[in-house]
Symmetry: C2
Subunit: 424 residues, 2 copies
């Protein structure tokens, strides 16, 4: 094993991970279960919108020619032959001298070419028949929403790789997609390493702490749109550890381990990768926290060795695992968005390496402001609970002052980016 | 039935809905299933962090007094009695003249009060025993992370009403919350009205369109953290409609209907509310779209009558149903955040009433910019698919120009507000 590790820049590490192929599996779900899933087929208008000429108002559907001679002094009288509400159809075409009482959204009857709103008409009954009068000429096509005026049949509406939000789901319903093809959620296995780790339901013991990374990472996996599979703690004995990892690779699409990637006496993962014949993409990154984050691949299957330190583990997941999960979902925007923001607090510590500081975004007078989520020691414990962004501080810089412009990586899964571009 | 409707301002309508009580039901879930749920109990540190004095480095745990006389010319020699990794404990206290080889995170043995990093020590073997030497005096407590220095036992870490994100879930694990109390998701029933509506799996018929509002609204309910129950289409005959609504009220926490709230011939909901003896909180709001949005309550149970127009339905949900769902979940921040943003496009139409325009937010050079999601007619069909915010245009204004400052309501469910404050 080569103990010398050459750190590579963050952008290069992200590029190496994302340059690997990711399998995209497709499954069909009912529209009822489609919310939040990623489209694996383009959504196309299966009919025009509106599908027929329709009325935008309550009024009378008439033929404009009937009104050519209408005036204040000589209104035109038309026989109202029937009434149609939305969803109903006129029983026959209207003839000259006839009108149909029509409700908003209903189909314009044959023979009619405009709609006169109730407000400009009068009505009366005579000899058991209904009549309407109008005092002004109407124009052909006046007050008619024409078939196909909003969307023509065959138009591409939403591309595959898009998340199904409420608006997309409305389109699925409109165009009859009672079943829809989506990408299957990749299964992401999680092992925790560390003999100091207790399970969450175990009582605290001297010298030990409870395993929190695995629970945190499974939630990050869910937030990323994948399916977590917690595989328990990894044995601290090499052969059993190697076996557990080999077996797990058959059950998952990708595998995360937390801890065990440093060069310490208890760090077994580098040897496991070696025995598996895995190609290590990198095992040292010029970043803090998380410099030991290691990614390896064997037969195209990825193993993410995240740090055992909670903050480093969290950052490593969002930088390297998150976009690869999005690639497995064939998302059009696989990366977290990186935007510019204003630092809300001084961070005077110099940065020999690029730093990713847990932060939270606020909006002040139209500007994006970002504050570190926990700057004092006691806030470290709860800082991840308040984190919705990373403040990116470039390596080789002294300190940053309140008001300085910084890059901000947004963790919200609802807004993504096609690119990963950092000034670091 | 009183056909005269007096429009009330949006803020007043929101206030009327939110001033009603909401039942909060609590259930217990396993930590594995807790992601995304809302805490119904405060999370308290059940032990100190760290729970014991621990080492921040790999090195030797020693007693600083042993090093009082150490110098370059006269290093101190200490007998290394054992080695402890994280999760292990020294088998006994160290005596004067002794040291323990210690790994990062391991507990400081009794008798030791500082840690000398490997880098400043030398080691050698003699007579089958291990020794280390150090050439400088160490200080008491040097390189020791003291018990409780990050969090004291009993500290309130996260308040109830907070969403369980990955960071909060890590805290649950750290402090042994293998089960956690969360608020039960309220069940929100949905009826669609309108005889023109076909089900999603029905072929298109002349004069009819498919029901898309119900599918859209059920996704909005999911996005809000509640549980949708689609109850089908509401009969267009009064007695059957009344019965269906009465029965549904026994099955759900709150009820949404789409359509049927105008004053047209086919709008049955106002009569249903009346026969139920419901109190109508309002049935006209000074806003576009969605002015006919109606909210009524009977025995403390809310019925939301949303418009049948898709955009109006969408807006009505987010303004009135969303915050009431959050109240049912006892969320600390029940409202969508409203921030300031810069308009990215001219919107020259005058606004007699406050308008909520479907928009999408972008970040440009640290500023929040917002563009309408669909300004031309053909984009109406897909605009909801691209909406992640509403642009709020104040009533009584002429037009707005590109670059104007506007209020923006963010639809992302991850960022909420304690307040609902609009300049309109």
């Amino acid at each position: 094993m080569n103990l010398h590790r050459e750190p590579i820049p963050v952008a290069e590490a992200v590029k190496r991970v994302l340059s690997l192929e990711a399998e995209n599996y497709i499954e069909k779900v009912k529209i009822e279960n489609s919310y939040d899933r990623i489209l694996a087929e383009d959504i196309v208008a299966t009919h025009s919108i509106p599908p027929f000429n329709k009325s935008p108002y309550d009024g009378f559907a008439i033929n404009s020619e009937s009104t050519n001679d209408a005036s204040k002094t000589s209104p035109v009288h038309l026989h109202v032959i029937e009434e149609i509400g939305a969803g109903h159809r006129a029983s026959r075409a209207i003839a000259p001298g006839e009108a149909v009482r029509i409700m908003t959204g209903a189909e314009i009857p044959e023979g009619a070419d405009c709609v006169a709103m109730f407000e400009i008409c009068q009505t009366y009954e005579a000899e058991d028949k209904s009549y309407m009068t109008i005092k002004r000429p109407m124009e052909k096509r006046q007050n008619i929403i024409e078939q196909g005026s909003e969307t023509k049949k065959g138009t591409l509406l939403v591309e595959k790789g898009t998340e199904i939000n409420p608006g997309v789901k409305a389109l699925l319903a409109t165009f009859g997609y009672s079943n829809v093809q989506v990408y299957r959620k990749p299964v992401v296995g999680v092992f925790a390493t560390g003999t100091e780790l207790l399970d969450v339901d175990q009582a605290l013991e001297p010298g030990k702490i409870r395993n929190s990374n695995a629970y945190m990472v499974t939630a990050q996996i869910e937030r990323s749109g994948a399916e977590p599979l917690y595989l328990g703690k990894l044995a601290d004995e090499f052969d059993r550890c190697y076996e557990a990892v080999s077996e797990a690779l058959n059950k998952v699409d990708m595998l995360i381990t937390t801890g065990g990637v440093s060069v310490g006496d208890y760090d077994l993962m580098p040897d496991v990768y070696e025995k598996l014949g895995a190609e290590v993409l990198f095992n040292k990154i010029a970043m803090r926290p998380g410099s030991v984050t290691t990614v390896a691949q064997v037969n195209g299957q990825l193993m993410f060795g995240l740090s055992g330190n909670p903050s480093a583990c969290y950052v490593g997941f969002e930088l390297y695992v998150y976009p690869y999960i999005q690639k497995s979902l064939n998302k059009t925007e696989p990366y977290h968005s990186i935007i510019e923001g204003i630092l809300g607090t001084d961070i005077m510590k110099p940065n020999p390496f690029t730093r990713f500081i847990r932060g939270s975004v606020a909006y002040e007078k139209g500007k994006v402001t970002v504050h570190p989520a926990g700057i004092d020691k006691s806030a470290v414990v709860t800082s991840l609970a308040h984190t919705n962004a990373f403040i990116i501080l470039k390596g080789g810089t002294r300190g940053y002052q309140k008001g300085d412009e910084v890059q901000v990586l947004l963790l919200s899964p609802n807004e993504g980016s096609q690119f990963f571009q950092i000034d670091a």
